[in-house]
Amino acid sequence: MTDLEAFRKETRAWLEANCPPEMRQPVKGDEDVCWGGRKWVFSSPAQKQWLEAMAAKGWTVPDWPVAYGGGGLTAEQTKILRQEMASLGCRSPLNSFGIWMLGPALLKFGSEEQKLHYLPQIARGEIRWCQGYSEPGSGSDLVSLQTYGEDKGDHWVVNGQKIWTSYADKADWIFCLVRTNKEDKYRGISFLLFDMTTPGVSTKPILLISGASPFCETFFDNVVVPKHQIVGELNRGWDVAKYLLGHEREMISGMGGDGGMASLGSFYADVLADNPVLRAEMAMFEVENLAYRAHSERFMDEWKTGRAHPAYSNLMKYVGTELNKKRHELVMAAGGSDALEWESARTNGGARPRAWLRTKANSIEGGTSEVMLNVVSKRILDMPGA
């Protein structure tokens, strides 16, 4: 038996012994997804037990170094762990912007002290993070951001406003882009970390068209941030932000929207039989969906082996999010008047229309489709102009 085969066997045995049966049931609602943090209320003892077992093993972040709370696994071992979890139906023990976004940035730009302090808290699900990037006047043109940190010697005093801060009202800490030099647009931004309970921080949830409020407005009124809470160099936060955005786009393209290779049309055969033009649209979507799955697989294979263009994740983000919006348009059309129901129990509280509306943000958040096309055209196709 090779080492990897042995690892697979051990992993499976461990998961079977340690993953509670309730944590092998499909996720049914928001409360089944564990986000951790100081304010988190576990929905069941099993959810708590599963998080603690995985965290003790370092497997909430299997490929991070052991010293930072990770499992120290290789890429192959991590893949095997994910495969075995999927095959047993194990839920993710912890969803977290700390794992997906801040962690990779700290691993690349953080000081050793910062890594030892923040990363294990993320791995154990003790601190829940949110991201302070966009501002009311700085969306696609993020670099024009105005939130300002005034230098007061051993600390900054931060004033300003962020918007679209995901789950800011539920988060414990924020990683935040703050202007620390008004003279230099790009080299005048710093990447700061601070506690959401610091005096002067307040949040206000934004009600969306889907009826949910996953995003907040976040206000900073004379917020004191000690100097050691900066990641990377002073005024070079844009480098960290760009790295993170690339990471985010890679992640989004890797997930490729919801729905996999399975046929969408096969769920609506009865409706499609009576609606030939809708059937044709669905058939064309089916072509696009299979092409996208292959495209995504090819991108991942090329990315992992260093073959992909460094800006390619921008293309995948564009293609994947536009396709996901198309998918939900078809789900709504095939669902007809049933898919209009917003509150009924039999539609799971209007799950379909709410999900449909949610997808409209796919091509806006993390860089709009139009910005993605700009990047592809300039960086991959080498088109001229600024």
Binding site: S263, G265, S266, Y268, A269, L272, A273, R279, A280, M282, A283, M284, E286, V287, E288, L290, A291, Y292, A294, H295, E297, R298, F299, D301, E302, T305, R307, L315, Y318, V319, E370, M372, L373, N374, V376, S377, K378, I380, L381, D382, M383, P384, G385
Partner: protein, 378 residues
């Protein structure tokens, strides 16, 4: 295995690309067209293909070929597409060879060496209507003497007037439209009672309408089993559809690259037009479409080579997506070239013409999207 070309496959591309750029370029196509060449392709070039071993790419090694797969055949076809090379490679070395793998030892030992050696060209006589309909076979094959007598007509037989052998789908049982009752025959082109009316197509290739007036063939001309030719035909079509998809990737990529170069050179309003965001966004979108098409074609090629049961479905998705993306590439190509794109002197129009013909062969975008829907139960 990753979804990208192996080193060996990349090497194959590195040898085929310069060979075709040198010998099978658009200039070559123009020369044949402008001299009103009656064959539609160059037999000399076909011999050169053979010298490079390309014609035997899918023929098993034990039978004198290279024993390679659909990924490799696709590499050759992409370069054929990129150069608009007039060639019987798709019909002969890909589709016909795939069908002949199911034929008797006699047929194989007769035709494989001729194909691999560049001495024979095989044409596919499968269509009877305007649109691809492989089960819509009305041409009759009746038992007669030691074999069969074929009566009926076929159209859209590319290279049909110049081929040495024709693979003909005929009805030995069942009704028109049924898969059962179809038999595939290998018919020598010089068989008595067989006439070909050749016509040049929009892309300068030549296709024939064939009339079969009681064409007598021996029983050993049957490829596969009598009444059960659908299995062989399906295999032929899988290879043909996927091959055409790879060629479409070449045509679309060729048109796209030429267009992007033009965007970086042409000046209007005191600017290189590639600086305009309206054109940049369309260019980036087109690139994404072509990349998606390239991915699904490679995926389907690997599946056929691995005998994956989902292969047939992915081949249809590949043909549809390759047709859709390359069609966008040639339309955007002509539009973005502006007036010069409408001239015969400029090459972009030739890409548009080739794309139209390739989209039609072995089923177009609509045929394959419909097939995909049916295979998924709706």
């Amino acid at each position: 295995m990753g979804l990208y070309h192996t080193e060996d496959q990349a090497m194959l591309k590195d040898s085929v690309a310069p060979f075709l750029a040198e010998n099978g370029s658009v200039k070559h196509l123009r020369a044949l067209r402008d001299s009103k060449d009656a064959t539609g392709f160059s037999r000399d070039l076909w011999s050169q293909f053979a010298e490079m071993g390309l014609n035997g790419i899918l023929i098993p090694e034990a039978e004198g070929g290279l024993g390679l797969g659909h990924v490799e055949a696709g590499i050759v076809l992409e370069e054929i597409g990129r150069n608009l090379t007039p060639s019987p490679f798709l019909s002969t070395a890909v589709a016909a060879v795939e069908a002949l793998k199911a034929a008797s030892a006699d047929l194989r030992s007769h035709w494989f060496p001729k194909i691999a050696g560049g001495e024979a060209v095989v044409a596919l006589a499968l269509e009877e209507g305007k649109k691809h309909n492989p089960a819509g076979v009305a041409l009759k094959a009746e038992r007669s003497g030691n074999g069969f007598k074929l009566t009926g007509a076929k159209n859209f037989v590319v290279h049909g007037h110049a081929a040495d052998m024709l693979l003909v789908s005929a009805r030995t049982g069942g009704a028109v439209g049924e898969e059962v009752g179809i038999t595939l025959f290998a018919v020598p082109a010089n068989a008595a009672g067989l006439t070909a009316e050749a016509d040049r197509l929009v892309d300068s290739s030549i296709a024939a309408r064939l009339a079969f007036e009681g064409v007598q063939v021996d029983a050993d001309a049957v490829v596969g089993e009598v009444d059960a030719g659908w299995a062989v035909l399906n295999r032929l079509l899988g290879a043909g559809r996927l091959g055409a998809s790879a060629e479409l990737i070449g045509v679309g990529s060729g048109a796209m690259d030429m267009t992007f170069d033009y965007l970086k050179q042409r000046k209007q309003f005191g600017k290189v037009i590639g600086e305009f965001q309206a054109l940049q966004h369309r260019a980036a979108h087109l690139y994404g479409e072509m990349e998606g098409a390239r991915s699904i074609v490679l995926k389907a090629q690997q599946m056929l080579d691995n005998g994956d049961p989902r292969g047939e479905m992915f081949v249809s998705a590949a043909k549809a997506k390759a047709g859709k993306a390359s069609n966008l590439a040639v339309r955007e190509g002509v539009q973005m070239h502006g007036g010069i794109g409408m001239t015969d002197e400029y090459d972009i129009g030739l890409f548009m013409k080739r794309e139209r013909a390739l989209n039609e062969v072995f089923g177009d975008l609509y045929f394959h999207a419909d097939k995909l829907a049916s295979m998924n139960g709706y």
